[in-house]
Amino acid sequence: MEKRGAFTSWWLPIAFALPQFLLILLFFYWPAAAVIKWAFTLEPPFGGNAEFVGWQNFAQVFADPLYWNSVIVSLIFSLSAALFAILIGLVLALAVDRELPGSGFFRFIYILPFAIAGPAAGMAFRFILSPERGLMALVNQSYPDFWNPGKYGSHALILVIVIFIWKWAGYTFIFLLAGLQSVPRSLMEAAAIDGSSPLRRALDIQVPLLAPTLFFLLVTMMTEAFVGSDTFGIVRHTTDGGPNHGTEVMVYRIVDEAFHGLNYSGASAQSLVLIGLIMIFTFIQFRFVEKQVHYK
């Protein structure tokens, strides 16, 4: 017979859950309800008569080609940012996990970028990679427009993705290093005695055993790149969504419409669509990807 600890009275667990419940209510459900109300009405910014307009706000959002542009930009951004951040974090973690001389120092260095706020990193990189005054200015002198994020949308998108990766590779590194340290040493030693190279050991033993961590990181990094505050902060301080909407990710568009265009209704409708998209992504990932990643 299974023995479980259980509360005998009904009010005690509720009392324990209450503070958390109140916080979620205040900071999540209440704003979410306000957003839903806004998405179906048109209301003057200062308040007043909110006119119910049904699906009009959504229809306008979906009819806007620039909205679909922002969806595509967001998809490219989050997919490449998540994959590269994990890949780089993995390579760094594998290197540090070998515990060669100096790995303590490098562990510290690799985590460091994560401590820097996204907007600050964006500002710094804007200067470092500025086409006329930064590091690339020298290259541009010999090959004009070799690197010009002010001119080409693709360059600008690469720029913001690189900044995101630069910061978040440190985060994936922490998790992957912790994951690597839980890989049994005996397995690695046995493989080493059998004569397999470090690369072979990494590919055949460490990476497969890291699958649950990698999956967790894929979900969190995709979500972070899609809706995280860094995504907005980096775009806002580096390219401002430009050139010509080239780096206008969905979160940037929402904030811009709401707070600069004072179009709260349209922005709310976009927020709801974004929440829906995130739910679908997460569902797909758990339903189809997670099945493949259990320890066998």
Binding site: L42, P44, S130, K151, N244, L262, S265
Partner: protein, 445 residues
């Protein structure tokens, strides 16, 4: 960070002054503004001068960092019934404020609190931007500017140009000579619509929107795709193709004014409010000057538009605070305060008496302030008309952005001028219709 620091400083300052006047507690009220950095500190200084000048009221000035955030936070605060007594709202937010019913009209506030203000003392070219169609001022013009063009006269002389260019054709000629004399960037350019679309249209007597630029009705539509604005863009594009005009943006490394001040570029359009900055940063010995924005040859020049922000008194505060607000607004409109404010910032005086006093003092005769009178001349060149009074459009921040993005596509990616502007106009009109629907049944008075 800076916000909370300023707030802390303001709170600390209020304790200090409270300790000094224990007999009677001063009525405290808040003023939110959108200036930061050097200009933000000047606002704090103005507040301190007011607090030191009397004992009945105490103004607490809080910077919200920029204009958009100030409007944003004012809206949020108003909805939460925690609004400040006075808020500084930029030109583009004027219509939002007017339709909000969330304010006390300037005239009513001053009359209620026993101040007799000569409203005709405000320059009509400035006041009309913030007044109703019938001419009643709803907010107080505060920091006002207009766009001008900056010339590096030393460079122009070296290139053999002796007189300040007056028309765009002259500017193009001067740019050619500069280019021939070895200057890489004759004229700097960015995608700010304020000089290129708004000021250009007013000066050339072109409408920006139907319904008298929106003053008559909320049904106004943007029309810049059918005006000389298109010719202007074509002219600039040609200049860019001839390498006479060089795009300078933050993303590329430098904005036009820093490019001008560092002598990388020799001509630039910007606000008169940058006059102080240029004077402080440009190398000593370099001769530079400002002029009114050029016109196309054969154009009869009209007045330019005022930019900057005005002060709105928000509804729903206790009557005591309105007394304080009225006292403060009266205080900063006194000629000596007007002169002080204009000297330390570069903004122009908004009242005729303020301007006259400064002129009489010889303020405009000597460096570094010489040249600033051009802004006043540009603003009061002709009587305000439908095309030159101002712009009264909802969602105007978004409209600026649509046009600015179109300009980005034109000048950075060689997109078709007419097609891009048509698209920007079409998109802006969708926003205008939504704005009209949001305020259904409202009338502009």
């Amino acid at each position: 960070m800076k916000n909370s620091w300023l707030l802390a400083a303001a709170v600390a300052a209020s304790f200090v002054s409270a300790a000094q006047a224990p007999a009677q507690a001063a009525t405290k009220f808040e003023f939110w503004h959108g200036l930061s950095g050097d200009l933000g500190e000047r606002v704090q200084e103005a507040c301190k001068k007011f607090n030191d000048s009397q004992k009945d009221f105490e103004i607490v000035c809080v910077s919200q960092n920029d204009y958009a955030a100030t409007l944003q936070n004012t809206i949020a605060a108003y909805r939460a019934k925690k609004q400040p007594a006075i808020a500084q709202i930029y030109d583009a937010g004027t219509l939002d404020m007017m339709l909000s019913k969330a304010f006390v009209p300037a005239k009513k506030l001053m009359a209620d609190n026993g101040y007799n203000i000569d409203w005709s003392n405000y320059f009509p070219g400035i006041a009309n931007y913030y007044a109703t169609a019938s001419g009643e001022l709803l907010s107080f013009p505060f920091n006002s500017s207009t766009a001008v063009i900056y010339y590096n006269m030393s460079a122009l002389e070296k290139a053999g140009v002796t007189a300040k260019p007056e028309t765009w054709e002259d500017v193009a000629d001067a740019a050619k000579k500069l280019k021939a004399a070895g200057f890489d960037c004759p004229m700097a350019f960015n995608f700010d619509t304020w000089p290129t679309m708004e000021q250009f249209s007013a000066i050339h007597d072109q409408p920006i929107a139907s319904q008298a630029n929106g003053y008559k009705s909320l049904s106004a539509e943007l029309v810049v795709n059918k005006t000389k604005f298109i010719d202007e863009l074509k002219f600039f594009k040609k200049m860019q193709d001839d390498k006479l005009l060089v795009v300078k943006t933050k993303q590329l490394g430098m904005d036009p004014i820093p490019a001008f001040a560092s002598q990388a570029c020799q001509i630039a359009m910007s606000s008169i409010a940058d006059h102080g900055t240029v004077g402080k940063t440009i190398a000593e010995g370099v001769k530079w000057d400002v002029g009114m924005l050029p016109v196309f040859k054969g154009t009869e020049r009209k007045k330019s538009l005022v930019g900057g922000a005005s002060l709105w008194v928000l509804a729903g505060r206790p009557a005591e605070e309105y007394k304080g607000a009225a006292a403060f607004l009266n205080f900063i409109a006194q000629p000596d305060m007007v002169q002080w404010w204009s000297t330390v910032t570069g903004y122009i005086p908004v009242t005729k008496t303020g301007f006259e006093a400064m002129k009489k003092n010889g303020f405009y005769d000597k460096a570094p302030y010489k040249g600033r009178e051009i802004a006043i001349a540009s603003l009061s060149l002709t009587e305000p008309t439908e095309n030159t009074r101002g712009i009264r459009l909802g969602n105007f921040t978004q409209i600026r952005k649509e046009v600015s993005t179109a300009m980005e596509a034109i000048f950075m990616q060689n997109a078709d001028i007419q097609k891009e502007i048509d698209q920007a106009v079409e998109r802006s009109n969708v926003g205008l219709r939504r704005f009209e629907q949001t305020y259904a049944g409202e009338k502009l008075n």
